[in-house]
Assembly symmetry: C2
Homo-oligomer: 229 residues x 2
Amino acid sequence: MGLVEPAQKTVQERRRAGRPAQAVLSSTRITNAALKLVGQTGYKGLTMAALAKSLNVAPSALYNHVHSKQDVLLLVEDHLMGRVDVSAFADKPWAEAVSIWAHSYRDVFAAHLPLIPVIALLPVTNAPKTITMYEAVTNGFQAAGWPHESIIDAIVALESFIYGSAYDVNAPLDIFDAGTLGPQAPNFSAAVARRGLKSAETTPAHNDADAAFTLGLTAMIAGLGATLA
Amino acid sequence: MGLVEPAQKTVQERRRAGRPAQAVLSSTRITNAALKLVGQTGYKGLTMAALAKSLNVAPSALYNHVHSKQDVLLLVEDHLMGRVDVSAFADKPWAEAVSIWAHSYRDVFAAHLPLIPVIALLPVTNAPKTITMYEAVTNGFQAAGWPHESIIDAIVALESFIYGSAYDVNAPLDIFDAGTLGPQAPNFSAAVARRGLKSAETTPAHNDADAAFTLGLTAMIAGLGATLA
DNA sequence: TCACTAAATGAATGATGTTCATTTAGAATA
DNA sequence: TATTCTAAATGAACATCATTCATTTAGTGA
């Protein structure tokens, strides 16, 4: 790629106005830069100005490739969907495959919480990796003999649980601390305290969010499996 | 309340600077005004400026009563939590009570989607109605003989599903329309089409989101109930 | 009487997403 | 070959919004 200058990346000479000989931007470059920026600064740092700067471009240049910031988020979302592990649907029993898929799905988007509204509310049109993911899951359900007319409902139900659980991963440890109002909710406060004790016993890796996720996921898979039988 | 002027509300004379004889604002008034504003203009219309205007006050005056806009959202959230129906935990069997509670919870916050991150990520400290809600639910679980150390995990799992399902209520009807990429995911597209047929048969009130919610909730309650037994 | 605090106004600020006029490069067209 | 059109960049300007700060005024406690 580097044609003339050897390692002149540090000193960025300003590009003059007008269309450059070689296009600087593309959907792929924007997606990668956004992902990198999020990794470094979080979603708080993902602004159109910062994104443009990381690409050594004026902010307005981005709008030749995306319609809006939402569009950028959609690009990132679809890219990440490719990281969701659907391989188990090919060779594992249905219940186990769902569990592996759900864990992977939750883990990916727990680290990208602001994308949840994007996934949950925007049509999958023009999101190829997302569609590929759904196809693999659908195949897994069909192979397990799931009733055709309610496959999507079952997937949606599992996804709903996954999205909510992704939030829970990011909840602070003291989210259920009632503070001065504790005495007004004695049973709740006691239950919260017992939860804290239990998770202190276990390994730190297996935290509260994981316990709740596993409990709920196991229950839902069992419940759905019963419908199946 | 109206002391001197009979119906002079239309012409708002400007209040002069300085502390007024009678306080204009309070947490309660701010909460009610925010709720009313959301009802009229949605969360897009809930700006500090609009909120101030609806209270006939300068925007900066709000900051004498709340620390930030997040604070306003927290006030609204706690108020709405009082609308969640927990009455069934007092007199109905556990499974039925959970179902009634979950439906009510989802319905309330499906109409207030931007509050989901607030509920899911902010500590319950200083949210009295929220704490009261949790106390009632905890009592219901205890009365049903649920193992004490995992009551909170079970509630969190159900809540996660509820939050995700609230998003789903607001998803557009064509969210699974693959568009031109349809042929690349034939089984998924067919499943989506079958879902459309099924929901067309049923009453319009019972839509796709309700079907998925009921399926998932029934499964999770059954699965959790099996853990209980 | 005098400080102090609470609660209002009004002006200002900084961040952010977005638009628009302009410039330039290359491809298509006459 | 000259001309036109479109894509892709710059740079200036905007509108919206949350928030802060200096200032003013009312009541309260020392």
